[in-house]
């Protein structure tokens, strides 16, 4: 599904990703863990196509296709979804209006028929109910004045509606209390499917108690330093990231 080969990325003069290689199969939930400042968010932005990140070497492939030359919207239409660490507030744009625009833009790009409002409303309502997103939130401007937990639930709601092939969750657990964390994790788990892959970026092992990963990758200093199964997360929880930081310094 996702194939990242020897990826080097700079922001300005500074190289952040230094030869990152990672492979995630369809149906897989891959966790990326690592200390702060190692480029985890950079990786998520580069996959989603944010401006300002200079890919100096390497490739990112989605189902065999190099996506690095595609616009963010084109990548989204191909099924890439990024759940933001800090979802952006958009005053003046009603959440419902945004959801309709996003869904139909992707459908148009894929040559599918646009959803009509009643159908769309029903889909949104169903997804909102299971995620505890109130009708009031849907009427309000997107994310404007939402609490941290509300914003994260809104991200998962969008993911549920857009049905991506590859979902990247960037520190979705940050700022969530235990109840909100459970709601978000349930939302993710219900979307697990053989044709869909997840990349779960997190600093703490806590989230992985709720979203059980198939693989765990330790990221430090702009690279994947070690890969393993779910048990690797437990080891990290116990020992911290010191081995990987020390390894780099040595």
């Amino acid at each position: 599904m996702l194939e990242i080969i020897d990826l080097h990325v700079s922001v300005g003069e500074r190289e952040i990703l230094k030869g990152l290689t990672l492979s995630v199969k369809a149906g897989e939930v891959a966790a990326i863990m690592g200390p702060n400042g190692t480029g985890k968010s950079t990786l998520s932005y580069v996959i989603a196509g944010r401006e300002g990140y200079d890919v100096t070497q390497g490739e990112v492939r989605l189902n065999g296709e190099n996506i690095l030359d595609l616009e963010p919207a084109e990548r989204a239409a191909k099924g890439i979804f990024l759940a933001f660490q800090y979802p952006v507030e958009i005053p003046g744009v009603a959440t419902m209006t945004f959801l309709k625009a996003a869904l139909n833009a992707q459908r148009r790009a894929r040559g599918e028929a646009e959803l009509q409002t009643p159908d769309l409303m029903k889909r949104v309502k169903d997804a909102a109910t299971s995620l505890g997103v109130s009708q009031d939130m849907l009427r309000r401007p997107l994310n404007a004045g939402f609490s941290g937990g509300e914003k994260k639930r809104m991200e998962i709601l969008q993911m549920a509606l857009l049905q991506p092939r590859l979902a990247i969750l960037d520190e979705t657990d940050s700022g969530l209390d235990i109840d909100a964390l459970r709601v978000v994790a349930d939302g993710v788990n219900s979307l697990r499917a053989p044709e869909r892959a997840f990349v779960v970026i997190t600093h703490y092992q806590r989230l992985l108690e709720y979203i059980r990963p198939d693989t765990v990758h330790v990221m430090a200093q702009g690279r994947i330093m070690r890969s393993g199964g779910a048990e690797l997360a437990l080891e990290l929880e116990e020992r911290g990231y010191q081995d990987y930081i020390a390894q780099e310094a040595a």
Partner: protein
């Protein structure tokens, strides 16, 4: 200097033509006031961002009545009162369908009759007296409408005051409308200023409101049309007695020079005035909104929220002055101007001012100017919206914020639609 003399000589000949068309004393006083100032240059502070002296160096001939039987397109489900090419046109208006409690006559008739309460309301000395272009409007007013809404009347269906120009070649029009609401009366009004085709015109219009105690007006103003070098100055004068409410929104689009000026006086306790607006600028549009809100009595409330969206080489200006007179305690005023520059060549000028002479008041202002937010754009793009569509959604959201206070769903939908049309032209090029 030669051009200026030319311009004033031409305007003087207009005055000679109009001085015996009713209200001679009012006209004479207004002409004297105008003559003292002349056409405002940029040295006049309130005209600093709009160089009318240069723009009007050649006044177009005064419009003469045309009696073309036009069929006018209808944008609203409203009762329409049409002033076309400087002349009130009952034949194009919905006079017969006006509800009980609404009386309408042409300004021309009102001036001929010279009823004192109409004369004093038409041009009161306490608001806008310092503005030369408003004085010029009073000196040269050709026609318009006088609308009286009886005390206690509640007019649900919107009354549209449409001031239109159609004639070619170039012409000047000077029109004035007076709307008086009796105690507790309520009305919805739409003020439409438009050109029916790509005509070059110099239009100077004024809308005067007199709101008696507890009266309420909801007003939507829409300025559109115009061509390069056309000039439109639209003045709104509002006089609010105690407990009166004026809730307004204005959309400015089109081409040429548009200057909208507001002079409001809250002359009774607990009066409330809200002036919101959005400007959509492209090409070489020059759009200036200048307002003076004068709190003369205690416990008044005023809100101003303006949005400028400027593309290409368009120029926007917002000058807002809130005055709180001595004794106007407990005044609550918030003024906000936000601008979005969509091109490197677009210009926005902001000048908020507060003049506060009372000590127990809450007044604030803010002005911002910026580009589309990159984080917001990326967020929308990452959800699948192509660049231009993402921009449009953000621009719409930005404009919509100024419309939030509009209660009339139909009108809000109409205005949102105008924004969408403007944006679709941006996407398609």
């Amino acid at each position: 200097m030669i051009k200026l003399a030319e311009a004033e000589a031409t305007l003087s000949s207009f005055y000679e033509e109009m001085r015996d068309k009713g209200a001679p004393r009012l006209r004479a006083a207004a002409w004297a006031a105008f003559s003292e100032f002349g056409l405002p240059s940029r040295r006049v502070e309130s005209w600093h961002y709009t160089d009318l002296k240069t723009a009007m160096s050649r006044p177009a001939p005064l419009a003469t009545a045309s009696h073309a039987a036009l069929s006018l397109p209808r944008a609203h489900d409203s009762l329409r009162l049409v002033t076309l090419d400087g002349v009130f046109r009952p034949d194009l208006s919905d006079i017969a369908r006006l509800p009980e409690g609404v009386a309408v006559q042409s300004l021309r008739d009102a001036l001929a009759q010279g009823e004192p309460h109409v004369m004093s309301a038409l041009a009161s000395a306490d608001i806008g007296a310092q503005d030369p272009i408003l004085a010029l409007n009073a000196a040269l007013m050709q026609d318009g409408v006088v609308v009286e809404i009886a005390s206690g009347a509640r007019i649900g269906r919107a009354i549209e005051l449409a001031t239109l120009s159609s004639a070619e070649p170039a012409q000047s029009t000077y029109t004035r409308a007076l709307v008086m609401l009796g105690e507790g009366a309520q009305a919805n009004l739409i003020e439409t200023l438009a050109a029916l085709s790509a005509v070059f015109a110099q239009d100077n219009s004024a809308l005067v409101f007199r709101l008696a105690k507890n009266a309420r007006v909801d007003l939507v103003t829409h300025l559109s049309g115009g061509v390069e070098h056309s000039i439109r100055v639209v003045s709104l004068l509002a006089h609010l007695d105690s407990g009166a409410t004026l809730n307004s929104f204005a959309l400015i689009e089109g081409e040429g020079l548009h200057r909208r000026q507001i002079f409001a006086r809250l002359d009774g306790e607990m009066a409330s005035a809200l002036f919101n607006g959005a400007t959509l600028g492209r090409g070489r549009l020059h759009a200036d909104t200048t307002l003076v809100v004068d709190h003369a009595k205690p416990s008044g409330k005023s809100r101003e929220r303006f949005r400028h969206i400027l593309d290409d080489q368009s120029v926007g200006a917002f000058q807002g002055k809130v005055i709180v007179r001595p004794g106007a305690q407990k005044t609550d005023g918030v003024m906000q101007s936000k601008s979005l520059l969509l091109s490197d060549q677009a210009t926005m000028n902001n000048k908020p001012e507060l003049e506060i002479f009372a000590d127990d008041v809450q007044c604030g202002h803010g002005a911002t100017c910026g580009r589309l937010d990159k984080d917001q754009l990326f967020y929308l793009s990452a959800r699948g919206l192509p660049r231009r569509q993402a921009e449009s959604l953000l621009i719409e959201g930005f404009a919509n914020e100024a419309m939030e206070a509009l209660e009339d769903e139909q009108l809000r939908a109409y205005l949102s639609d105008r924004v969408s049309v403007w944006l679709s032209r941006r996407i398609s090029r």
